[in-house]
């Protein structure tokens, strides 16, 4: 990958993060749990996307982000209030922005009409009472980065786009009273820039000396038409609280002494009434470099803003400045690591765990006393290995937050489509699960959320009739419980209409008429293949693939899904998922002298067949009668070719399994050793796919054991 592509990839990764931030922020504003920080964060997210998009010449993205930003700016400066309608618009805008980012990354065509519609609405929202957007937003002007035109622009100007991080400059907070306070006034001349010096670097150096409040004076910036691109119009006043000497402060400007006017005066103590102007500054260069290019990428608002700035020096409250500085301090230290490296580490640790347990076993076999130093040392090793394993697994673990956020979009879209008012309540977004599990959860969850909104919640008029608030609530929660993650999706709708479910199940031939079913058995029918209770097939759900697909994908993840419903109160789906795909809970069994592992998720129950329960059927087949139904008996050893004669069911243990299509079968094994968590190892890497075998694992004695592919064995029995 060339460097540019790599940078671009990073940009898109960051976009994802910014979009998540944006959505979190908007939702916080919606739930009225916000402060100025939140609005700033939202603004910053859109602004960053725009900035990056500009650098890569993604014009469409820049244009939309810019309009969005303009509206957000008005909200930020308090000129328009984020009422429900505006919030909805902003949420939809964030969806569009996300789409635009995605299309920019993966290619494809954006639905132009949708974009332009939202675009228009945003523009309208930004013009309260016909006031042009730009003139209404003086405070924002400084933090404006000229859009893409930088790159599109002519090459004859040697401008380099510089983005200043305000947080760096504004930093600080209140100067410490004990320290000396210097007031530094700094006015660069054009020569300073001509010699390739940069004001921002000097400001950073000043800041490194202590607590600095930086104020920029932009009053001398002329109108765009009169602006000399090589001129110097900005000056700064810095209040520096520090324990350094005046000479040290002056030293910062040593190299630019003759190219700027600098004065440093020491103040003995802090004047509490000093009101500095911490106006955020976007460019150190007096920029608007896009002058040469008058293309559509320069919104008129740029011109208007510059004019505005000229007329009315920006003045932001110190409080706002403090707020801006905060996120920078809160920033977490993170690194990006290639997933392959993490996986390699996880593999190695898995080997370490196996090796360690083998060692323990050998030591025990050697008859070494439990209290000997060797055994004690080995215990410590075991503890350490477990801790290492947990920590390594934690690297892959990610909070479920992003996927929960995606669901809020699904809720919005589906609610709009079916004309319901729905609120999504989420809990436990910080709950962490393996990255792969999260990725593969997206589709089933989307489906469940759609179902909840479309089928679960009643129509608004029905809700009112039932004495419920018109707005329906869909709850999505995540929590850790005994080594698994439990995700619940519930609605406060009418609950499952059991009579109707049963009727449809009979009509579709899922069940025989006249079979007595308990309430929960009826609820479970929802998971039967091809089942959809919606009387009309809507756009949203009910395309024939229903909850059975959801169930299958959850099971493929080693998870289970269950349903509970109360008439009139709603329905809850509960997903129980493993924290990782690298290990599996299995039942260790013996078959024809071999040790096998049966995935626990497939097992319903185990039992010892008794004489009268086993019946022959045809030439070879046998069935077992369990609670009135006949279930086929499958000898695993025979199926896998471990023995040539089928074993006697009466000397075997039957493991009841449920495979695809809810079909139950009884797998015959010779004995059950126990339950164990096993590390999944690929058989395909060095060998290939084997019928009836899902993967392999290594047991405590160091031997390889195969993990049974229950679905394949059951399916193989039928054909």
């Amino acid at each position: 990958m060339d460097t540019m592509a790599a940078i671009k990839q990073t940009f898109f990764q960051e976009c994802e993060e910014q979009l998540a931030e944006l959505e979190t922020g908007l939702l916080a504003i919606e739930s009225e749990e916000h402060d100025t920080d939140t609005i700033n964060a939202v603004f910053r997210a859109v602004h960053s996307i725009k900035g990056g998009a500009g650098a890569f010449g993604l014009e469409e993205l820049v244009r939309f982000a810019h309009t969005f930003e303009t509206t957000l700016d008005l909200v930020r400066s308090g000129q328009i209030q984020p009422d429900a309608g505006l919030l909805k618009l902003m949420l939809r805008s964030s969806d569009i922005l996300a789409d635009l980012v995605r299309f920019s990354r993966d290619g494809g065509e954006m639905d132009e009409s949708r974009v332009s519609q939202i675009h228009e609405e945003l523009t309208r929202a930004a013009q309260p009472g016909g006031t042009p957007a730009a003139s209404a937003a003086p405070a924002a002007a400084p933090s404006f980065t000229p859009p893409a035109a930088f790159d599109a622009g002519s090459d004859d100007d040697d401008f380099v786009p510089i983005t200043i991080n305000f947080d760096d400059i504004l930093g600080g907070g209140e100067p410490a009273v004990e320290e000396q306070v210097f007031v530094v006034s700094f006015r660069p001349k054009p020569e300073l820039y001509a010699k390739a010096n940069d004001a921002i670097k000097l400001l950073r150096e000043i800041r490194a000396l202590g607590d600095a409040d930086v104020a920029c004076d932009i009053s001398e910036v002329p109108l765009l038409t009169e602006l000399d691109p090589e001129g110097a119009y900005l000056s700064w006043t810095i209040r520096l609280g520090s324990d350094v000497t005046e000479a040290q402060v002056r030293e910062v400007f040593e190299f630019v002494e003759f190219d700027c006017d600098v004065s440093v005066t020491a103040e003995p103590k802090v004047d509490p009434n000093f009101e500095f102007v911490p106006a955020p500054v976007a460019e150190t260069r007096e920029p608007v470099p896009a002058l040469a290019d008058d293309g559509p990428l320069i919104p008129e608002s740029v011109l208007a803003k510059i004019a505005q700035v000229n007329a009315e020096p920006a003045k932001a409250s110190p409080a706002a400045a403090a707020n801006q500085a905060q996120p920078a301090q809160q920033a977490q230290t993170t690194i990006r690591v290639d997933l392959d490296r993490v996986d390699r580490l996880i593999d190695l640790v898995g080997e370490l765990v196996i090796n360690q347990s083998m060692l323990s076993q050998r030591v025990t076999e050697a008859g070494i006393a439990r209290l000997s130093e060797v055994a004690v040392g080995l215990d410590d090793l075991e503890q350490l290995t477990r801790e290492i394993q947990d920590s390594v697994m934690a690297i892959r673990a990610q909070p479920v937050r992003p996927i929960f956020q995606r669901m809020s979009r699904v809720v919005r879209e589906v609610a709009d489509m079916v004309g319901k008012s729905v609120r999504l309540v989420t809990e436990g977004e910080n709950c962490e699960v393996d990255k792969t599990v999260i990725e593969r959860l997206a589709d089933p969850l989307t489906h469940m959320i759609r179902n909840a909104v479309d089928h679960g919640l009643e129509k608004p008029e029905d809700r009112i009739k039932a004495g419920k608030p018109e707005q329906g609530v869909v709850r999505m929660t995540a929590a850790h419980r005994s080594g698994r993650v439990i995700i619940e999706v519930s609605d406060d709708g009418a609950g499952i209409n059991r009579a109707r479910v049963k009727e449809i199940a009979i009509k579709r031939g899922v069940i025989e008429p006249g079979v007595p079913l308990s309430d929960s058995e009826i609820d479970d029918l929802i998971f039967a293949p091809g089942f959809s209770t919606a009387s009309t097939v809507s756009d949203v759900s009910g395309r024939g693939v229903g909850m059975d697909v959801v169930k299958r994908s959850i099971q493929a993840l080693g998870g289970r899904i269950s349903i509970s419903s109360k008439p009139g109160q709603g329905t809850t789906f509960t997903l129980s998922l493993p924290l990782t795909l690298a290990v599996l809970d299995g039942m260790v069994v013996t078959v024809a002298g071999q040790t096998l592992v049966v995935p626990l998720t497939a097992i319903v129950e185990t039992l010892q067949p008794k004489g009268p329960e086993v019946h022959g059927l045809g030439e070879r087949a046998k069935v077992i009668a369990i609670r009135g139904s006949f279930i086929p008996l499958i000898d695993v050893g025979y199926k896998l070719g471990y023995r040539y004669e089928e074993a006697d069911p009466l000397n075997s243990v039957a493991i009841m399994v449920e495979s695809e299509n809810r079909a139950q079968s009884a797998l015959m094994v010779d004995g059950i050793i126990g339950q164990q968590q096993v590390v999944i190892k690929s058989l395909e890497t060095n060998y290939g796919q084997v019928f009836g075998v899902a993967a392999a694992t290594i047991l405590g004695d160091g031997r390889v054991a195969v993990i049974l592919d229950v679905d394949a064995i059951v399916a193989g029995n039928r054909s």
């Binding site: 593999d347 190695l348 898995g350 080997e351 196996i354 090796n355 071999q594 040790t595 199926k639 896998l640 070719g641 471990y642 190892k681 690929s682 058989l683 890497t685 060095n686 060998y687 290939g688 796919q689 084997v690 019928f691 009836g692 075998v693 392999a696 290594i698 160091g702 031997r703 390889v704 054991a705 195969v706 394949a712």
Partner: protein, 158 residues
Amino acid sequence: MMHVKEHDLSKNSELIAFRLGGQEFCVDIMSVRDIRGWTPTTPLPHSPGYVKGVINLRGSVLPVIDLAARLGFRSTEPTARHVIIVTQVGNQSVGLLVDAVSDILTINADTIQPTPDVASELARAFMKGVLAIEGRMISLIGLDSVLQSTRENSGFLN
């Protein structure tokens, strides 16, 4: 999967020679990752007779092939004295069950002679040629073909 060609024998190549049913064979040393004593394998369902099963090689699952059976000889009844030569070609690793490792040879590629016609077709399919060294005849095994055919015959493919 990326399929890397077996190391080309250059002027002075080193080979590992081993015994199998009274005959001598050799493989390119560049493909050998490990040599270890026999450990009981876990048989795989529906595998061809020459696949002894899989063993745990430092945490990964390694199939073991009874090379004698693969070449059409009588299959080996492994004992603790038998040896597994762990080989790798491309990304795939396979253990070869042999009677004993006998020698490390340094040979010149020019000394490799074509496999005589008298060898069985099956054996010829896996042999790249023969070497005459100090009055012994040593057959050179082409790991590419052994591994490739193992993968293709890995039992019941749906």
